[in-house]
Amino acid sequence: MSDFITEADGLETQEFILNLGPQHPSTHGVYRARLIMDGETVISAENKVGYLHRGIEKLAEGITYAQFTPYTTRFDYVAGALQPWAWCLALEKLGNIVVPERAEYLRVIVGELQRIASHLVMLGSIVLDFSAITPWTYVFNAREDISDLLEAVSGSRLLVNYFVNGGVNADLPEGWIPKVEKALDSMLKRLDDFDRMVSGNEIFVGRTKGIAVVSAEEAIEYGITGASLRASGLTFDLRKDSPYSIYDRLDFEVQSMPAGDSFDRYYVRLLEIRESAKMVRQALKQLPAGDIRAKVAKVWRPAPGEAYAAIEAARGIMGYQVVSDGTVKPYRVHMRSPSFCNIGIIPAKAPGLTLQDFIAFIASLDFVLGDIDR
């Protein structure tokens, strides 16, 4: 509206503060942006987080290592299964535990399925912020199938507590593998429908292309990781660049998009889903027989020391620093969560966007408040 009414016309305009959130439909949780607005244009934005802070790092110091494992699924609750992976890797480094091969494969399968589910949520919720409810149901129906699979292996649909120190919780149930193939087929079909419906839609493209462009240099400066970084033209992916688990045995491409705008941040996730589906299929083919869990004492006392492990979670680098003092409880647990750093770019890129573009921008960053606030 600022195009139409200016100070020069003799009309006095006034900036006002809009608290977007913490209770707002499109802030994807209890995120709050304190916006200074001139009509529909954002003049400045400030992140206000912490509404979901549960003091998990402090909590970890009072419970044992094994007891803390389920807590780790609670941070990024959209990608619950992937979260304990970094924690378990850090513990395994700390205690020099060798994870059985089959367990590594199972971790990759479940982890990539969870990544698919998480990216589907992102695709659905970004179009929902454009008021497109129909594509949202398409991807959420696809996610339902994957949630069923995760439920079959772990017992829970959302907070998938499958990874444990030294391996995984349980072996695959009877007849699970054909179900995975079927679910992936139908998911990819729905995804193609979704792609045709949304990616070429003129309104969608017009509202996302060239909006909030983050260059590769800026992305590195601001510590953005994960798919949001790969949308800026970089092919940085810990699965490829610093392969943990058995990712070096899988044949996959790191997807990236060149422009770094909201559209690329959306589309790179769509490409990653297809790549993850490929990985799951390969891992299922290569799946060896054997143990699913290394022998770890019930009361586990790692030697004093510290370990740091980082994985490529659904939203970026998830890192855990675990410091042990030789007792059953960790001395200090620090977690590096991807969403927490990724939202740092919002104040830098918000000025000049309209409110609608701002909503599209924060949706394209794909943050989860549990991951930010911990």
Binding site: D3, F130, S131, T134, T137, Y138, N201, Q356, I359
Partner: protein, 353 residues
């Protein structure tokens, strides 16, 4: 129907022992009673329509979206809306402490009043036009723009930033899109030579206006979507940006009134489209009012289809589209129509050069 009512009147006269002159001719309250009957009829039609429309919208959306939709309350979930309405009626009325009370309370009443008024203008068939105005179309457009006022009142009165922004957007949007809409209708008025809705409808007995004025029809549909603030122009209550837009602070029966007004307008705007472009109540075999309602519902389903398929456009692009695309095209269409009418008149010998 008139005969039936006259019989009732005559019967009433007999009971009351009044002189056996025709009351219908003698007393002015015959007109008042008719007005009252039409009013009640319009309200009943409005309520039934809203209930049906909400049900259709939810069921249709369900089929579009790979889900079932309401299917528990009543056969096929038909009573779901009734259920929801009762629930809404029972809800607490919450008024923001800092609201502008008078404006806040009037706004929902105004929106429903306008909808009922618009229902009274529609030609449901030959002989069932509640109010026949020779400037019907003009009056229709004028009264429908009062909707803007009620939305702005709701937005301003709520004293909420989201409501105010939603209200302001609506004013800009509806006022802008009224221009191409009026321009697209003028072409039809020129062809028909009448502003009366009934005359426009009956003039299409042989060929519908949609075939004569296809460009005007497209412009009409786009601006009708914008006028109704339906997707892709649902800026008013863009829940992803403004939580619920102008009715964020409304609850209970007041929210229901807004909801009713929205769906009632959807029906009346679609009915206007049917009158202008699809021959109104004209049609073979079935009674005219069945044709009218049927055509209107097809038009509504078309709008719902658009709603469930499209994303929301950005507000500044929407305004640019209106001023830079729609209005020039509709003006050009008007010019073409004028030239076309003159050529037609010359060809048929109506005018001599």
């Amino acid at each position: 129907m008139v005969g039936f009512l006259t019989t009732i009147f005559n019967w009433a006269q007999g009971i009351l022992g009044l002189p056996a002159t025709s009351l219908a001719d003698a007393l002015p309250w015959w007109d008042i009673l008719w007005a009252f009957i039409y009013f009640v009829g319009a309200v009943i039609l409005l309520i039934i329509n809203v209930i049906m429309l909400i049900w259709i919208e939810r069921r249709a959306a369900g089929f579009f979206q790979e889900r079932v939709g309401p299917n528990r309350v009543g056969p096929l979930g038909l009573l779901q809306t009734v259920n929801d309405t009762i629930k809404l009626l029972g809800k607490e009325w919450i008024m923001p402490a800092a609201a502008d009370k008078l404006i806040y309370l009037i706004a929902p009443l105004l929106i429903v009043t306008i909808s009922v008024t618009m229902y009274g203008l529609l030609p449901y068939g030959p002989g069932i036009t509640p109010v026949t105005l020779n400037v019907g179309i003009l009056f229709f457009l004028a009264i429908s723009s009062v909707n803007t006022l009620s939305v702005l009142m709701a937005g301003w009165g709520s004293n909420n930033k989201y409501s105010l922004l939603g209200g302001m957007r609506t004013v800009a949007q509806i006022i802008s899109y009224e221009i191409p809409m009026a321009l697209s209708i003028i072409g039809i008025v020129m062809i028909t030579g009448s502003l009366d809705l009934g005359t426009i409808a009956s003039s299409q007995a042989h060929v519908w206006n949609v075939f004569i004025q296809p460009v005007a029809f497209v412009i009409f549909v786009i601006s009708a979507l914008a006028e109704l603030t339906k997707s892709p122009f649902d800026m008013t209550e863009a829940e992803q940006e403004f939580v619920a837009g102008y009715h964020t602070e409304y609850s209970g029966i007041r929210f229901t009134l807004f909801f009713m007004g929205e769906y009632a307008n959807l029906f009346s705007m679609s009915a206007l489209g049917v009158v202008l472009f699809f021959g109104g109540a004209n049609g073979p075999f079935l009674p005219p009012w069945v044709w009218f309602i049927g055509k209107t519902y097809v038009f509504i389903l078309f709008m719902l289809w658009i709603r469930w398929t499209f994303l929301r456009i950005r507000v500044d692009k929407m305004m640019k589209f209106n001023w830079k695309v729609l209005i020039p095209i509709s003006l050009a269409n008007l010019l073409l129509t004028g030239v076309g009418i003159k050529i037609w008149q010359a060809a048929t010998g109506a005018i001599k050069w």
